[in-house]
Amino acid sequence: MKIIDVALKDMLRSFRNMFFLMFGLGVPLLMSGIFYFAFGGLGGDGGFEVPQTRVQIVNLDEPVAEYGDFSAGQMLVEFLQTEELSDLMAITKAPDAASARAAVDDQEAGVALIIPAGLSASVFDPAGETAIEMYQDPTLTLGPGIVKSIVSQFVDTLAGSKIAANVAHERLPEQGVTVDAAILQEIAMQYSNWSFSLGEGGADALLDVRSPLGKKDTDQMVGIVGLIMAGMMIFYAFFTGAASAGTILQEEESGTLARLFTTPTPQSTILGGKFIAVFALIAVQLAVLMPISSVIFGTDWGAPLPLALAALALVILAASFGIFIVSLLKDTRQSGIVYGGVMTALGLLGISSVFTMNVPYVSPIVETLPLIVPQGWAMRAMRLVMEGGGVSDVLLTVGVMLALSLVFFLIGVFMFKKRFA
């Protein structure tokens, strides 16, 4: 059948075209590979590798003699230097606050912790208040965040002891108890012991954390790279759609399209064959990328049936959109702008949830905005499937994708028919 001949010819040309091989297959794998590599995928145990933060610590705290030389500062230093925290922090003791800060300024450390003089004293002073200074490199967020959360746990223990002592100091006289230092110290000690035993129990003693229903318990790194791969695949599927449809313009300019029209082959057959090639190329692209990413990156694409639906809808939508976009162009020169500019911008917008997945609190606008472009719907479908959704979960999104496809395809066909009338 001539329509298949035209489609096969286009596909053969695409497979020989560096642009298709590069952008259809090479770049998505390359970019996912970079992220896979970025998050410790090579040589690691596959887990998300939290970076080790270099910390400069200065202990200006003086022990409180009347409380047995108690030094909160020293306790904190020892706590931070424990074996369990060595993966997260590399501790260096600095001689003074200025040199600790200078080390951060000179990028020799990410964080400087300056334990103030009088930390211990303020623990026992009912009116005492103080703060541990955390001086950090402004270009870092993850490391200082981890240091802060660890130090906060320690500080909260001290604060809690102090609060317990203060409250006792205020309230015990109401019970006719004469409050002295010994009593306060005893209460503080009991609180500290309780706090440390609670800490040993871990978060499980405080919280029972459950994943939301349907969310899969995936290795975080695999989950991240999987979504990146999905995003890249969608991004470049739309590129493939536009580039493949763009061969119509190329053939128009090179004269082979006009020559095709001089043969006893109906125009609908010629254009139909080209459209079939567009669909087929995207299908091939997905058929190659999905298994490869499963093997290399361990990507879990989700249950077969919803995945098949989402993938099919993606193929149809990307192809239709490509046909639609190209039908609006005058020549191949304009197509350069389309690929480089329009498709990239729309694609990035559509897959932006890939970039925001690790960003705490994303505005609803940022969450919804991708749905103004077809890539956004494709990404939504993929996410639903990859996060464990079933057919019913993905049906509405697939329906929208198919409806959009129909609109794009009809407009594209109409425009081409008009052009070649």
Binding site: S254, T262, T263, P264
Partner: protein, 326 residues
Amino acid sequence: MNNNKAIQVQDLHKNFGDVYAVQGVSFDVQAGEIFSLLGPNGAGKTTIISMLACLLEPTQGDALVMGHSILREPMAVKQAIGVVPQEIALYEDLSARENLTFWGKMYGLRGGPLKQREPLRFPSLSDRVDEVLEVVGLKDRQKGRVSKFSGGMKRRLNIGIALLHRPEVIIMDEPTVGIDPQSRRNILDNVKEMNRQGTTVLYTTHYMEEAQELSDHVAIMDHGKVIAYGTHDELVKIVGELDRIDLTISAESAQVIEQWQATEGVHQITAEDGELTLLVDDSNIVLPRLFESATQAGVRITSVEIQEPNLEAVFLHLTGRALRDE
């Protein structure tokens, strides 16, 4: 087919807005002949070809190709013709063989028997591709990518595609533009060979020598109209026995040209790009007079070329312009 006419063009018009590319053109091409459309660039030749190939719809008029109307039976027309476009239209990232195979399929050729009115001519598409490769001299390079071919090789392949389905009519749109003399010679020989095998050829060109060498009939076109039509001898008779003299002079001189225009025996003088073209009764008699006038005016004649009456002269006579790229 009507009266053994392969092509009958009937009052074709084509406007593009205010531009009248083709204005009331009519001519007939006999089956088995080579017919040339001769005219400068922009004369409307390619527009006529495009209409006959059913790429453009006429604004008015019709044409019959092997008895099929271009308006009502475009598919039948396309099956009957093979088109060699002016620009090379090939898939450069495919090989010569792949190109021919694909285009053969577009002409309905397959491995099995053809679904054509004509009896089976060759066993399979593959065999026909082999034949055509042989004809165009690309058998050895059949697996090579077209992008690596020389210009001449591409042109030969460009022609070969039009031959695949053994059309009754081949339409060639200026196939020798911008190529070397040897390749041009090959193409002209191929055209004659095709014609010897019974194919009707409609050939457009702005090279008078080609039209002269190849054609049984010539239609001379200018500004969308056929301004003359006939055999070579019939057309040349329009300029009668006038000789054509091409001259160059050492310095521009309006005085000399004026004198020459007044000289007995000189019918027409045109000047273009420093060259003067004169139509004269008898060059042997007129030429000395021209030399004399020039000498008197202090102008030297630096080159002289005398041509027998030809189509170029006909065009010059009819339009006042030379048949060169404009």
